[in-house]
């Protein structure tokens, strides 16, 4: 069933894009389909807003999946070994940190995005605006995707930690080191995102 939906989605959009492209190509207007034209003509606010949205959205997805994985394991393991529940909240906190990275980046990016009322016709100004929009999009996408996978990773490791802790309580501290490495990945994304934004 889910493959059907996936095929439906991919098929629909492929067909739509192919149809549009063939329409232009076969009426002799292939030149009108230009990625450069699309990038130049679309509003820079599209890119900036999409970047901010993806930033917080994707990082929260990562954090959510991580917490879901870890939480389920802690709850399950806690039935037979209730001692694990307090210690293993650290895994959940690591996952949450990932969401906070995304949130902070989104707030910083929103601060740099402001709606200008006047239409800018100067080429240099226009170029700077486009650059700012693309940087915002890139930074948002960067932080979002990095935090997404970081959250997934931390969640998986945390769940393993909870279960092994329930079995043997001396294992937990060692496994925590693995989680720290997993969390560092999220930090990388945050650093790159913030560094990109500093160029605007």
């Amino acid at each position: 069933m889910r493959t059907t939906i996936a095929y439906l989605y991919i098929g629909f959009f492929s067909l739509l894009v192919t149809g549009i492209i063939l329409f232009y190509l076969l009426t002799g207007r292939g030149e009108a389909l230009s990625i450069a034209w699309f990038l130049e003509e679309t509003s820079p606010y599209l890119w900036a807003s999409t970047g901010i949205g993806l930033c917080v959205g994707l990082s929260v997805v990562g954090a959510a999946v991580g917490i879901y994985t870890t939480g389920a394991s802690i709850v399950g393991g806690g039935v037979k070994a209730p001692r694990i529940k307090t210690k293993n909240l650290i895994s959940v906190i690591f996952c949450e940190a990932v969401a906070i990275y995304g949130l902070i980046t989104a707030i910083v990016l929103s601060g740099t995005t402001a709606l200008e009322v006047t239409e800018v016709t100067d080429m240099v100004q226009n170029a700077r605006k486009m650059m700012a929009a693309y940087v915002t999009f890139g930074a948002g996408l960067c932080v979002g995707l990095v935090d997404l996978f970081c959250g997934l990773c931390v969640g998986s490791v945390g769940s393993g930690a909870a279960i092994s802790d329930a079995a043997n309580s001396s294992l937990f501290v060692k496994i925590l080191i693995i989680e720290i490495f997993a969390s560092a990945i999220g930090l990388f994304g945050l650093i790159v995102g913030v560094y990109m934004t500093s160029r605007i």
Partner: protein, 423 residues
């Protein structure tokens, strides 16, 4: 199984179409005449029957067998020929084949068969009877064979571009009669065949094709409101008279047709025309079309220069278009909403504007690049964002479908679990 069945159906349909196409054979008229009467026996053919290839082959071979020794057969073939060509008359009641008529008057055993299917294929059977097949390519170097038994095939060339059909056939008529008289002077027995490969269309038009072009370029009547500027490489059109608004004074411009002039340089082409208004002012507009150096293959209408000659002063202003007018070379630009050219305090408005420079022939506009795009940038952005959201939705749906209830240890008939609360 169903797919195999459908494949067979498609294959069958294709076969039918192919065979049907080949069966719809062309029927062309054939005119056969001889230089000498071989015997007193005349072989005549019924006039209205449709001859198949075999029938015609039999008829022709019978004709040739009446000769003592093999005659010289000359075949004049056109690409298109039909019965209507033979019966066509112009206003003075002359036919298209005057020379051929005089030849036939002195020839023997003239046979005209109005519809034969593929006569050339029938004539090719003469090769088996010992006739030598010779295709004549060049008339000057044509050598008349001394003895008979040769089939000379003369394929007459196609019409020239501006020639209409009666002139074309008259030219061929002269050719046929000259070749035939040459052959008759040098060979004893000549059998001539005049036919075509395919049937031609009926009734050629008496007027030249240019008439249609002339209608397109008809200058608008003085009270028509269409503005059309036509020079050798630029065409500009607007469905209404242009309107100039200069410091709140509106003027409607009427084009003076004889004043349209063209100028060209390495970087631009321009067209200039005089317009009259309801006052005594005379306005000259010059449209500058630049071939873009930044994006080669595109032309752009950069500005319109506006000269006004009123009795007390002459003024020149450069008006630029509000939205860029750019299109590739070989395409025109069209805008069904107002096209506005602006400068300080003055604006020039066209309705339904269409323009194209760098044309080879200004018969008609090429395909237009519209100012209203079908897929505007907002539409593309919307599609982009919608695809992202739709992807998220699909992912969410997939995840929800993955939820499984934990009912491995459920036993509706068993004891319910009790968990003692420990402190």
């Amino acid at each position: 199984m169903a797919g195999g069945r459908m494949c067979f159906d498609i294959f069958f349909c294709c076969l039918v179409v192919i065979f049907g196409g080949s069966c719809g054979a062309e029927f062309v008229p054939v005119l056969v005449w001889e230089s000498n009467k071989p015997t007193d026996v005349q072989i005549s053919s019924p006039a209205l029957k449709k001859y198949s290839t075999d029938d015609f082959a039999d008829f022709f071979i019978n004709k040739l067998s009446a000769f003592g020794k093999k005659p010289l057969v000359v075949v004049f073939t056109e690409e298109n020929l039909s019965v209507e060509d033979f019966s066509w008359q112009d206003l003075a009641e002359n036919s298209v084949f005057p020379h051929l008529e005089s030849v036939i008057a002195t020839a023997a055993n003239v046979d005209f068969i109005p519809s034969v299917s593929n006569p050339l294929k029938a004539l090719q059977r003469l090769e088996k009877l010992g006739y030598q097949w010779q295709t004549v390519r060049d008339l000057e170097t044509m050598n008349v064979p001394e003895h008979g038994g040769v089939v000379m095939v003369l394929e007459m060339e196609n019409a020239k571009v501006d020639e209409d059909r009666p002139d074309f056939l008259r030219r061929h008529d002269c050719l046929i009669s000259s070749v035939y008289s040459r052959l008759v002077s040098q060979a004893d027995d000549v059998v001539a065949v005049y036919t075509g490969r395919y049937s031609s269309w009926i009734e050629p038009e008496n007027e030249p094709v240019l008439h249609r072009v002339r209608r397109l370029l008809v200058e608008p009547a003085p009270n028509a409101t269409v503005m059309l500027m036509n020079t050798s490489s630029i065409l500009i059109y607007a469905s209404d008279k242009p309107q100039v608004t200069e410091s709140d004074i509106k003027k409607i411009l009427t084009l003076l047709p004889d004043t349209v002039k063209r100028k060209e340089s390495a970087t631009y082409q321009s067209v200039r025309a005089k317009f009259s208004t309801n006052s005594t002012d005379q306005i000259i507009l010059e449209f500058f079309f630049f071939n873009s150096t930044s994006s080669p293959g595109y032309w752009s209408l950069e500005n319109v220069t506006y000269y006004i000659n009123s009795p007390n002063h002459t003024n020149k202003m450069v008006l630029t278009p509000e939205s860029g007018i750019v299109a590739p070379v070989m395409f025109s630009y069209h805008c069904s909403s107002k096209t506005v050219f602006k400068a300080v305090n003055i604006s020039l408005t066209f309705q339904n504007f269409q323009a194209q420079p760098y044309m080879e022939k200004t018969k008609a506009f090429d395909d237009a690049y519209n100012c209203e795009l079908f897929f505007t940038p907002p539409i593309w952005s919307g599609l982009f964002v919608t695809s992202i959201l739709a992807f998220i939705m699909m992912w969410g749906l997939a995840m929800i479908m993955d939820i499984r209830t934990m009912d491995q240890y459920d036993d509706p008939k068993g004891k319910t679990i009790t968990i003692s609360v420990s402190e």
